[in-house]
């Protein structure tokens, strides 16, 4: 293992389950210190990829290197830690007992009190895990992952099933953990999380990387604006013929026009038709996401 090696290096990663190809020749390289969102719809192969990355599943083809070595080696030396989507906590232990016990599975860790504090669960240290909310349990998993002070932190859909407040608290805890040089890879299907937290977004669909870049770059991939208006019986052909228009969509009485020149569309709608309630919005990451992963 050398420190000049990429934190994560996945090459030609493939995994099939019977007739289903979950991960299909996926390549991904992450440099130390990057915060990367692994974004894709449910069933895109995110969790399978994360499992192979951590050595929990064996690829049918391709290789996984973490810091130039085997995943098992990185786990054994506490260089990688993960917060998994599902799994394992013992309900009959308290929060503090869970952290203390796990700390003994490493040769050396950060102090238990410190990780409880950083995960925002110091106040519930004596609570039984079974009595914790989903969000609190997730922050406990995060506390466990902080113990070895890992160089790479992997989070697999960490906020699935949390309410809005739980998600906010969780990401606050992650943000507060600002050790420089820590590489973070998180899988999510929440676009706002990828947008707000990642430096880089890797879009995955059907087990392949379909886009990879900064948040701004990904947004640009689906640049343009959406003009929306209320217009029963809109003439779709006329709208589609306007310069810059990419697509026209009718939803009930509403018409949505995706365009590179919103002024032209708005002027047309307001002067040539009886359209009302005209709205112009920038395409956001969600649109990019839908375009690229549809």
């Amino acid at each position: 293992m050398t420190d000049s090696a990429p934190a994560v290096d996945l090459a030609g990663l493939t995994k099939t389950f019977g007739p289903v190809t979950a991960v299909d020749g996926l390549d991904l390289r992450i440099a130390p210190g990057e915060v990367v969102a692994f974004l894709g719809p449910n069933g895109a192969g995110k969790t399978t990829t994360v499992d192979m990355l951590l050595g929990l599943a064996r690829p049918d083809a391709g290789t996984v290197r973490l810091f130039g070595g085997e995943p098992a080696d990185a786990v054994r030396h506490g260089r990688v830690a993960a917060v998994m989507q599902t799994g394992g906590l013992l309900k009959d232990l308290t929060v503090a007992e869970t952290v203390r016990m796990t700390a003994h599975f490493y040769g050396h860790t950060r102090p238990v009190a410190e990780v409880l504090e950083r995960a925002g669960i110091a106040g519930i240290a004596d609570r039984a895990v079974g009595k914790c909310s989903g969000g609190q349990q997730q922050r406990l998993r995060f506390a466990l992952a902080l113990l070895p002070d890992p160089d790479l932190m992997v989070l697999d859909e960490p906020t699935t099933g949390m309410d809005v407040e739980g998600r906010r608290d969780f990401w606050q805890a992650i943000r507060a953990d600002a050790r420089s040089g820590r590489t973070v890879l998180f899988a999510t299907h929440y676009l706002d999380e990828a947008d707000a937290y990642a430096d880089r977004i890797v879009l995955i669909r059907q087990g392949r990387v379909v886009a990879d870049g900064t948040t701004a770059e990904i947004k640009n991939l689906a640049a343009g604006r959406v003009v929306r208006a209320t217009q029963p019986g809109a003439d779709q052909a006329a709208l589609a013929a306007l310069p810059g228009v990419r697509s026209v969509e009718v939803r009930g009485d509403a018409v949505l026009v995706h365009t590179g020149d919103s002024d032209v569309v708005a002027r047309h709608l307001l002067t040539r038709t009886d359209a009302r309630d005209v709205e112009i919005t920038s395409r956001n990451l969600e649109d990019a996401f839908l375009t690229l992963t549809a």
């Binding site: 030396h77 506490g78 799994g87 003994h104 599975f105 490493y106 040769g107 070895p148 943000r175």
Partner: protein
């Protein structure tokens, strides 16, 4: 992202794996406290065997075995074996719960060695088994059972060490069936095995066919050996063979399933 502090910029993190693969006393202590917090488990491994003694042992007060030692001693030792086997089985079978909950998967993301995990389970089982024997003996002594000192020690140690068979049995079941409520099925099975092993009634009271079959069931050997110091029959080699065979069977079975579980990727 906020500013970094000096401690966060240093890269000198001690990354040596844990001693003994992560097997250590503090984890054992947490495991034991966990079990002792579980009222249901306590009921089965400590309270029930003691109550059995009060119900079935005390009425025989005053009766003696052929060698003049009290029948209550015979029943107490049998129930101590029962307490120990229930304790070690349930501690071993806890891996079923932990696999069902996904805790085993969580552990695979730590440097804890699988062998250290199993060693912790076996050690926990043996501490609980000892507790089961001690509680049963304490209840017996408080109820007036009087035996020669060597019988207390030899029978107690045999009941305890013999329960290792059932720690292996528990692990075997735990790796066979990843279910949270596995003890609900194993508990009744243990009661039947204990019956066949002659812990609840002397085998002499069973029909001959049953008695012959019983000699090959896994509780028989431990029960015979644990009571040997009391009955003065000496070491019964058939019983030794029984214990050895079942320990090897469950031990190898558990080891095999354990390997399948840890290499499954």
């Amino acid at each position: 992202m906020t500013a970094t502090t000096s401690s966060t910029t240093t890269r000198a993190v001690d990354r040596r794996p844990p001693m003994l693969g992560g097997f250590c006393a503090p984890v054992l202590a947490i495991e034991i406290r966990r079990v002792l917090r579980n009222r249901r488990t306590l009921l089965f491994i400590l309270v029930m065997p003691a109550v059995f003694f009060l119900l079935f042992g005390l009425p025989t007060r005053g009766e003696n075995l052929d060698n003049g030692l009290p029948v209550t001693g015979w029943i107490m030792i049998s129930l101590a074996v029962y307490a120990a086997m229930v304790a070690t089985t349930s501690a071993g079978a806890a891996v079923a719960t932990e696999r069902a909950l996904g805790w085993s998967r969580q552990l695979r993301l730590t440097p804890l060695r699988p062998a250290a995990y199993v060693a912790t389970k076996v050690a926990t089982a043996m501490v609980l088994g000892l507790l089961g024997v001690l509680v049963e003996f304490a209840v017996g002594a408080a109820s007036g059972v009087r035996l020669p000192a060597h019988v207390w020690v030899e029978s107690g140690l045999t009941a305890w060490v013999g329960a290792l068979v059932f720690a292996a049995f528990g692990l075997f079941v735990g790796y066979l069936a990843p279910a949270e409520n596995v003890m609900q099925f194993v508990g009744p099975a243990l009661a039947i095995l204990a019956m066949l092993g002659g812990l609840f009634v002397p085998l002499e009271l069973l029909p001959d066919v049953m008695r012959q079959i019983a000699k090959f069931t896994p509780v028989y050997g431990v029960g015979q050996l644990a009571r040997a110091p009391l009955t003065g029959t000496g070491v019964d080699w058939a019983a030794v063979a029984n214990v050895t065979a079942w320990t090897v069977f469950f031990g190898l079975g558990a080891a095999r399933l354990f390997r399948r579980d840890t290499t499954r990727v």
